[in-house]
């Protein structure tokens, strides 16, 4: 951006900016404009002070956005959260099907029971089927959460784009990276990401060799 040295420079700059229609102002551009204005009127303390406050505010806002590490959130945290939610749906579906397999066996066995026992057994089986519908509701709720995460991702992208932070070095992490024993706590692994019991047994056995 050219340096603004006079009121005429400023008027020309504003006119040029006004020609760019339908383009939302970027935080980065605003910051540069305000910076140029503070240089233009170093002796007018009233305007200078106000512009300085505005410039400081823009810098603080940029720093705060950078501190969120939007790229990390978009590339790492959101996809990870989505994968975890998908894994929940998969695991509950698997468990539900196993429960229903067992209930269906029970239904078949009820044919060999006395009518009274068969009635009781079938009432219990019905309760199992009814309870299993939780999986459908859980799946629908999780789908809603995943959609919300997608919206957050899109908004983050918009925020990064309008702040002019694309390509900038990320701010340091605000949350401490776990160390020692705390770093070992990752919770359940996603399918294929961790070891199964056979892997663990093989690993343990390898220490004995």
């Amino acid at each position: 951006m050219e340096k603004i040295r006079s009121v005429n420079d400023l008027a020309r700059h504003i006119n040029e900016a006004a020609k760019i229609e339908n383009t939302p102002p970027r935080l980065e551009d605003l910051g540069r404009t305000v910076g140029a204005l503070t240089t233009a009127w170093p002796n007018n303390r009233g305007i200078y002070d106000q512009l300085k406050r505005l410039a400081d505010f823009i810098e603080r806002t940029k720093a705060e956005i950078a501190a969120i590490r939007p790229d990390d959130v978009k590339r790492e945290h959101l996809p990870k959260a989505t994968d975890e939610l998908d894994a929940i749906v998969e695991a509950t579906a698997g468990a539900t099907n196993r429960i229903m397999d067992a209930a269906e066996v029970f239904t078949e066995l009820s044919n060999r029971m006395t009518p009274e026992d068969a009635d009781k057994a079938m009432n219990a089986v019905t309760s199992i089927y009814e309870a299993c519908s939780f999986q459908d509701i859980t799946g629908q709720r999780i789908t809603k959460v995943v959609k919300t995460l997608k919206v957050i991702e899109a908004r983050l992208e918009q925020m990064v784009s309008s702040s002019g932070l694309e390509g900038m070095a990320p701010a340091p992490r605000l949350t401490a990276v776990p160390e020692g024993d705390a770093a070992l706590l990752n919770g359940p692994a996603l399918p294929g990401a961790g070891h199964n019991q056979d892997d663990i047994d093989a690993l343990l056995a390898s220490f004995d060799n």
Binding site: A93, T96, N97, M100, A103, E104, T107, M122, V125, T126, Y129, E130, C132, S133, F134, Q135, D136, I137, G139, Q140
Partner: protein
């Protein structure tokens, strides 16, 4: 009039688990001839090939939703009289109103129990 439990029933849901649950509950009520479809388009295709005495459909499916299926059914002179029960987690007033406008026979909110399913079927088809 007693319900004819030998009739063909079509259940429509994109969750395999839910299809299995409804099929098993229907079996316990006495319905043996139960077919399944995983969205509205597949259901419509099946309905054009076979006569069903009852359709039990979810709302939220892709590409054709339950409400779209219902409208298609009610706009088809051959399929129009088919009793149609919506079984869905969509429980807002506007959903129920929309389904009623489209010609739904009854509406069940998930999660539901066997008694509710049986009661709604009876209200549509007659007592068991």
């Amino acid at each position: 009039m007693a319900v004819d439990t030998n009739m063909n029933v079509l259940i429509v849901d994109d969750y395999a688990t839910m299809l299995r649950i409804v099929r098993n509950l229907l079996k316990q009520i006495g319905f043996e001839n139960v077919d399944e479809a995983t969205d509205g388009a597949q259901a419509l295709q099946k309905m054009k090939l076979k006569k069903y005495g009852l359709v039990i459909s979810d709302w939220n499916m892709e590409p054709m939703t339950g409400i779209q299926l219902l409208r298609e059914v009610r706009n088809d002179p051959d399929l129009k009289p088919t009793p149609f029960i919506m079984v869905t987690a969509e429980s807002k007033t506007e959903n129920v109103v929309e389904a009623k406008k489209a010609g739904v026979s009854n509406y069940i909110v998930k999660p539901f129990n066997s008694d509710t399913l049986k009661g709604k079927i009876a209200s549509v088809l007659g007592a068991f």
